[in-house]
């Protein structure tokens, strides 16, 4: 459904992403892992149109989106969350989601309709009791739910999640994993996620891609990848491998 | 139009440019370190010009001699303004907007206080040595701008030395580049801000004296000088004192060149249109971070 071919992105002298190939099949949950600074978020930024890649192409459902603008990519059905959540702080939880409903693929015309639909989404992520609370009053976990709800509000077919599990307790991780599965199963959204929390990765992903210094290091099922000596070396250093 | 004339206008432009550099240096400093857009910066320059004027006219004290006193007084004034006005504003959600608005209010107050007490008639600061012209071959360089320029360069030099060769100065730079990091290594951001702002106002005052060597001044000229400040800051970027210095010189040079070939009124249009284009295509400025 989504694939990247030979994607490279440099900043100044530093190659954040080098000649990176990846593909995610429809209905999959794929993870992207790698040490800090390895280029993961940059890749997401390239996919969502915030940076044009220096080389390479990004293709979504057979359509080339390499040089598309972010809003166009959103309209085509790719949604994303951010590593550090970015809610619309001054607005209510409901409105945060409602605006996304209006401008997303459902393309509604008025805030009333948008809010109605937003309420359903809030129920889906478990935030409906907080619907009138202003976003800046939310706790961290709630903000993550909000971020998710807002991303889902544009009715995407593909979702990019950037380190959603960071800072969550064990119970919260389990809840979040269940939520991810529901997004895939009930809403039919394909998921590509960046993650550091191994428990979450192992618990959700069918396929894992490992990135290191911008290069693809390994790819495969979670069991395979976790045994891969190169991967272990990248994370833990040579001696442990 | 002789070569001499062209050279004279260009040199004159460069001299003016150097003075604009000093005028903008302090503004750049506060914007860079504290994210404070001090619209009242130029009005303190005008205040400095008036102070030197009164020392000269009433106290027979040569402007160059009254400078240290002037700078000191304005440094303290800057500290007071910081404590009373700027510091509360740095707590706002949108510091840039809030600081812009509050310093605009301040500028109006100071401008009109000056206007009320000293009347809006234009003044000139003309110590005897600014009358003559200095000659390189056939090229005449008016001594007013020349002294102003030398003053400006010296002041910028001092500022530079402070920033790069004193502990406090380096602390200021650190805060500029990375406020959180600076705080983490034990630099007191409060003190840095206080010193920075005081320094900024003091430099504004000194630049006002330099400006007075080349322009007549009156309270409402502060708005025109503010535009120069913006001009230099945007072109030079908010990154460094040197960047500002070069930007000022460049702008002076362009002013000189345009003045040599165009009617004077269009020079300003060109300048601001140029600025506009730079803003559009390279807003970080030519030397910006």
């Amino acid at each position: 459904m989504l694939e990247g071919i030979g994607v490279s992105k440099k900043f100044g002298g530093l190659a954040a992403v080098s000649n990176f190939d990846f593909s995610v099949v429809e209905g999959q949950i794929v993870g992207l892992i790698g040490p800090n600074g390895s280029g993961k978020t940059t890749l997401f930024n390239v996919i969502t149109g915030f940076y044009p890649p220096d080389t390479g192409r990004v293709i979504f459902k057979g359509r080339e989106i390499t040089h598309h603008k972010p809003y166009q990519i959103a309209k085509l059905g790719i949604a994303r969350t951010f590593q550090i959540v970015r809610p619309f702080l001054e607005l209510s939880v409901l409105d945060n989601v409602a605006i996304a409903v209006l401008y997303g693929r459902e393309n509604m015309g008025s805030m009333e309709k948008g809010r109605a639909r937003a309420l359903e989404l809030l129920k889906f992520v478990g935030l409906e009791s907080k619907k009138d609370v202003l976003a800046h009053q939310l706790v961290a976990v709630e903000r993550k739910r909000l971020e998710l709800a807002r991303a889902l509000a544009i009715k995407p077919e593909f979702l990019l999640l950037d380190e959603t599990f960071s800072g969550l307790s064990d119970t919260e991780i389990q809840e979040a994993i269940r939520l991810i599965y529901r997004i895939r199963d009930d809403l039919g959204v394909t998921i590509f996620l960046i993650e550091h929390v191994m428990k979450a990765v192992m618990g959700t992903c069918e396929k894992i891609i490992v990135i290191h210094y911008g290069l693809k290091l390994a790819e495969g099922r979670p069991e395979e990848v976790s045994q891969n000596p190169l991967v272990i070396q990248a994370y833990l250093g040579k001696r442990r491998a | 139009m002789s070569v001499t004339y062209i050279l004279e206008t260009i040199i004159s432009g460069i001299l003016f440019g150097g003075i604009y550099s000093l005028l903008s240096a302090g503004f750049c400093l506060t914007w860079g370190t504290m994210k404070v857009l001090n619209i009242s910066h130029a009005v303190f320059a005008v205040l400095g010009a008036y102070m030197a004027y009164w020392f000269f006219v009433k106290g027979s004290l040569d402007p160059l001699l009254s400078l240290p006193l002037l700078a000191l007084l304005l440094f303290f004034l800057g500290g007071i303004v910081y404590r009373l006005i700027i510091r509360p504003v740095t707590k706002a959600k949108d510091v840039i907007m809030a600081s812009m608005v509050v310093t605009f209010g301040l500028a109006i107050v100071i401008e009109n206080v000056m206007s009320y007490f000293w009347r809006p008639d234009p003044r000139i600061l003309k110590p005897p040595y600014t009358g003559a012209s200095f000659f390189i071959g056939e090229i005449a360089i008016s001594q007013g701008p020349l002294f102003g320029f030398v003053l400006a360069i010296l002041a910028i030099g001092l500022l530079y030395l402070f920033l790069y060769h004193t502990y406090t100065g380096k602390a200021v730079q650190a805060t500029w580049q990375n406020p959180v990091g600076a705080a983490l290594v034990g630099i007191n951001p409060e003190r840095v801000s206080l010193i920075t702002f005081g320094l900024s106002i003091a430099s504004a005052g000194v630049s006002g004296v330099a400006m007075a060597f080349i322009y007549a001044f009156y309270p409402s000229v502060q708005m025109v000088w503010t535009l120069f400040v913006f001009l230099v800051t945007i072109v030079g970027g908010v990154g460094s004192i040197l960047g500002t210095a070069f930007a000022g010189l460049m702008i002076g040079f362009i002013t000189g060149v345009s003045a040599a070939f165009l009617p004077f009124v269009w020079v300003n249009v060109i300048l601001f249109a140029l600025l506009w284009f730079i803003l559009l295509f390279k807003p970080e400025g030519l030397f910006g971070a």
């Binding site: 401008y103 | 857009l37 006005i85 707590k91 706002a92 209010g105 109006i108 107050v109 807003p283």
Partner: protein, 337 residues
């Protein structure tokens, strides 16, 4: 580390809060309607001309500040160049009236259109800038336009332009303009309010809150910003057209006066720029105060007081009056920490 700031909803208190809110809203709505009707009828009691002039000025600032707020408050792009569009409106009206004898009230619309045209032209490059750079570029726009108009024969350069006067008495003159500006101010405020509650308004607010995120939820940010910019310019142009005619003489120093741009900014900021009531409040209070002080005390003192007032207000309420009220107990739900 996130501080836990949970919200506990107590059904009874919640209901009281909702009741309070709706009560205040209804009260505000009715009182504003009543006020507007009273204002329309005001001239019937034949008040001294001074009041008509005073209110004209207030209405004008309300119109200008509301129209500015589309860009400044909702979108978060503070323009110091609003005065440019105002002037284009004034000059367009003057030229069309003088050369073609077109009715001034129709040409005011034309003034709006020309202003909107300029906004469209300039908007594309300017709106790509962010933050302080945007602000300064709009300021420069005003300055450059002023310089151009000062030196351009066609628009009268430094001599200015005269309007043909209406063939009526001074009193009727003032009366007509009073009513016209009141209508304009009301219309513009209502339209701005309509935008605020519309899909466009929601999009603009999203841009203000977080422009990058807005893009990821499908908002075509350049296009929305352009709409706000052009619409605001159009309104300002119309106001300018009426103003020019009212003053019967325009000159670059008067119309392109940066002070006006900054005044608008202050009014919006003072009243709180996140909603339509803010600029209204700010414009009414500040322009009334300003006019009164200028008339009775003197220009310089008035500016000093005005400046001081501004400084003090920003120091105590850095985010504007309406925000301050919103944040106060009356509207807040109970918080536990």
């Amino acid at each position: 580390m996130e501080l836990r700031r949970g919200v506990i909803l107590n059904l009874e208190q919640d209901k009281k809060l909702v009741d309070n809110r709706t009560r205040v809203r209804r009260l505000m709505r009715t009182s504003i309607v009543v006020l507007i009707i009273l204002l329309f009828l005001f001239p019937i009691i034949r008040p001294p001309l001074f009041f008509l002039t005073l209110f004209f000025s207030v209405f004008m600032y309300v119109a200008l500040t509301e129209s500015w707020n589309l860009m400044g408050g909702y979108t978060g792009y503070v323009s110091l160049g609003h005065v440019t569009f105002f002037s284009i409106g004034a000059y367009t009206t003057a030229l069309f009236m003088n050369r073609f004898g077109v009715s001034p009230f129709a040409t005011a619309i034309l003034g709006g259109i020309f202003a909107a045209g300029l906004a469209g032209l300039v908007g594309y490059p300017v709106l790509r800038l962010r933050g302080a750079y945007f602000v300064i570029s709009t300021l420069l726009l005003a300055v450059i336009m002023q310089l151009i108009f000062m030196n351009w024969e066609f628009v009268g350069s430094s001599t200015g332009l005269w309007f043909k006067l209406l063939p009526v008495s001074m009193e009727t003159n003032r009366l007509i303009f009073y009513e016209v500006m009141l209508v304009l101010a009301t219309l513009i405020t209502l339209l701005v309010r309509r935008v605020e509650k519309s899909k466009l308004g929601a999009g603009l607010i999203a841009i203000r809150e977080d422009e990058d995120v807005a893009k990821t939820i499908g908002i075509n940010t350049p296009w929305l910003k352009m709409q706000a910019f052009i619409l605001g310019a159009f309104f300002a142009g119309c106001v300018g057209g009426i103003y020019g005619y009212y003053m019967s003489y325009i000159h670059p120093d008067i119309t392109f006066n940066i002070n006006t741009s900054l005044l608008i900014l202050l009014m919006a900021f003072f009243g709180g720029c996140h909603t339509w009531t803010g600029p209204l409040l700010g414009a009414v209070i500040l322009s009334l105060a300003n006019q009164l002080i200028v008339t009775f005390i003197g220009a310089e003192i008035s500016r000093i007081l005005y400046g001081l007032l501004l400084v003090i207000i920003i120091i105590f309420m850095p985010d504007g009056v309406i925000e301050y009220i919103r944040a106060s107990q009356f509207f807040q739900k109970e918080r536990t920490s």
